[in-house]
């Protein structure tokens, strides 16, 4: 039997039962719309969470920046194979703060994870190879006190090939991207102690690099360490935007105020932590799963009602000579048409709805992410449609062919 002939029967059947067909269509559309919006929100959370989870530990290609503070020459010489500096980070994203422990002294070591496209030119040694891990570039000039004017410097080229072994607490940092596409990192929670060994592969001209209009980072353990003079003095690059790193989420407001008061561009702030993201994502997934179950339940109820109402018609088809496959395919095409119709309608309705929700989300301070319909969400919706159809087929095959001509006799 041709598809055109089957479609003739289905079209007439749907048209005649238009009230029931429309009610079914609307119900499925509403539920699929909720699924689609939930998928879009999940995508929204994922985008934010991806930012959170970029971690120095994963990158392990990093730069120690200019104005490095080295505690003493002794420390440097003591650890010929292990070197560290305390520095102001320049031009990069995702910092982590480490404490190198000795018997007497704790030294802070600030390493800055390096991303491609944000690497200074190498003056000695090798470029960072992002296919390899655990590499570090040192600034050509490392000075003692963090003051540009000091004359006491260390020749870092002699450290090429040497190792830096660090024990530190890795941090989960929260980052956002501001309106000018600069990344702002703030807040963080310790994520366990990690020991890594970095190899110094090269050096870069920190003066030259310094003059580039990069984002500057100021590492501050608490906002109390932030002073107006620190900002101007330590960086000297008040023309550049500044990324402020602080371990204390509570300090962010003060840090923000200090920066703003110094006419330093400071984007809006937004505060999420990774735990709340995980909770929201889990909750959304559970919600989507429940909606899918409801869809399957509605589809099954629909099939049962259809069979109950139209058992005579289907048994008569068998009497005419329609095979079981003919009858089954007519019914499946009928239901699939309804489900696909619901998918298409829900996509169209979701466009203005997600636009409205996006406007609300955009009003949240610092948020630059939106919900939007993604290819993934559409594919998920079609997959859900297929799953519902499969359940419908299962239901039909278990119930439809139990009806026989005896059921006609009972009705007679």
């Amino acid at each position: 039997m041709s598809f055109k002939n089957k479609f003739f029967i289905i079209r007439k059947s749907l048209f005649r039962e238009k009230t029931r067909s429309i009610v079914g269509l609307i119900l499925m559309t509403i539920i699929l719309l909720c699924v689609l919006l939930a998928l879009e929100i999940l995508h929204f959370f994922s985008e934010i969470n991806d930012s959170i989870n970029k971690n120095f530990i994963d990158a392990r290609c990093c730069v120690l920046s200019m104005d490095s503070d080295v505690s003493t020459d002794d420390v440097v010489s003591l650890y010929e194979n292990k070197d560290f500096v305390d520095m102001i980070i320049d031009g990069l994203s995702y910092t982590t703060s480490v404490t190198y422990k000795t018997d007497d002294v704790n030294y802070a070591l600030n390493l800055q994870a390096c991303v491609e496209g944000c690497v200074p030119d190498v003056t000695n040694g090798e470029d960072l190879d992002f296919n390899k891990k655990n590499q570090v570039l040192l600034p050509e000039t490392m000075i003692l006190s963090g003051n540009n004017n000091t004359t006491k410097k260390i020749d870092t080229a002699s450290l090429i090939g040497k190792k830096i072994v660090c024990s530190f607490y890795s941090m989960d940092y929260t980052t956002i991207v501001d309106d000018t596409n600069k990344e702002i990192v703030f807040g963080g929670t310790p994520n366990g102690e990690v020991i890594i060994e970095l190899t110094v592969v090269g050096t870069y001209d920190n003066n030259h690099y310094f003059q580039q209009p990069h984002t500057a980072f100021i590492s501050a353990l608490t906002a109390n360490e932030m002073h107006m003079s620190d900002i101007k003095d330590k960086t000297g690059y008040t023309q550049s935007s500044i990324m402020i790193v602080t371990d204390s989420v509570k300090s962010i407001n003060k840090v923000h105020d200090i920066a703003s008061n110094n006419n330093i561009f400071c984007s809006n702030k937004v505060s999420f932590d990774s735990k709340s993201y995980i909770m929201m994502r889990v909750f959304t997934c559970i919600f989507i799963f429940i909606l899918i179950l409801i869809c399957i339940w509605i589809a099954n109820i629909s099939v049962k009602m259809d069979l109950k109402k139209n058992v005579c018609d289907y048994v008569m088809l068998v009497a005419y000579g329609y095979t079981d496959n003919n009858v089954m395919s007519i019914l499946i095409i009928k239901y699939l048409a309804m489900y696909l119709g619901s998918v298409i309608l829900s996509i169209f309705i979701s466009l203005p709805v997600s636009s409205l929700v996006s406007q609300y989300l955009h009003n949240i301070d610092g948020n630059i992410y939106n919900i939007r319909i993604s290819f993934f969400a559409v594919v998920c919706l079609i997959a859900i449609c297929v799953i519902i159809t499969l359940f419908t087929i299962l239901n039909l095959s278990m119930t439809l062919f139990k009806f026989t001509v005896k059921d006609l006799s009972r009705i007679q």
Binding site: I9, V318, Y320, N326, V405
Partner: protein, 220 residues
């Protein structure tokens, strides 16, 4: 002597302890109108349904052209139902979602395209004088009209054998007469076989052979 178009041999069917068909043997000829009478619950409808491949049997065979059709696959049985048999039931069972014309088209759609099916269905409606009711839905037709549509629907694919299960059970005298005449005409003028289960006494005027069914057995 007319050809044997359908024969059954030791046909048996039980529902639990109730014997509906008990070792029935009979040969049905073409161009013949058979009437089967019997008490309610004797098993007449079951016999008809087994003959027409709408019901499985426990034992026995039904032969068409020497082939035991009860042993065929479900697909081949469906093919026989489409091309060899036509069914008429007491309650018409017209599809309420389709017009009279479309109800006639449904059996034809298995082997014809929509336009051809529509054209053939219109011809059939003209033959029974219901062409002007072609766009009416079943609930817009009278009982007699519905049953006439049901009878011509059974003729849609020009089957060799019509199995009618109390086709006039819900009809008045006049409509009953029309239906029997239609069936009779089909049997005699088109060389087909009609096997009609009925309680009607008027059937004797139309039937070529009267058969009696009692407790699963067929008597002449």
């Amino acid at each position: 002597m007319n050809n044997i178009i359908l024969s059954c041999e030791n046909l048996s069917k039980k529902f639990g302890n109730i014997v509906a068909v008990d070792r029935v043997n009979y040969e049905f000829e073409s161009s013949h109108f058979y009437a089967i009478k019997g008490a309610s619950g004797a098993g007449k409808s079951t016999f008809l349904q087994v003959l027409g491949l709408l019901e499985d049997c426990d034992k026995g065979s039904v032969y068409i052209d020497g082939e035991d059709i009860l042993k065929l696959s479900s697909k081949k049985k469906a093919s026989y139902r489409q091309n060899y048999f036509g069914f008429v039931f007491q309650s018409c069972f017209l599809n309420a979602s389709f017009t009279s014309l479309e109800n006639l088209m449904i059996p034809m759609l298995l082997s014809k395209n929509i336009d051809q099916a529509r054209s053939d269905a219109e011809e059939l409606l003209k033959k029974v004088g219901l062409y002007d009711r072609k766009d009416c839905y079943p609930k817009q037709l009278s009982g007699g009209e519905q049953q006439r549509i049901a009878v011509v629907r059974a003729l849609a694919n020009s089957p060799k054998c019509i199995l009618a299960d109390e086709p006039t059970g819900n009809l008045d005298e006049e409509n009953e007469k029309i239906v029997f005449m239609l069936l009779k005409e089909y049997a005699t003028q088109h060389g087909r076989t009609v096997i009609c289960v009925t309680h009607s006494d008027k059937i004797s005027k139309y039937a070529d052979s009267m058969l009696f069914y009692k407790k699963g057995e067929l008597f002449i």
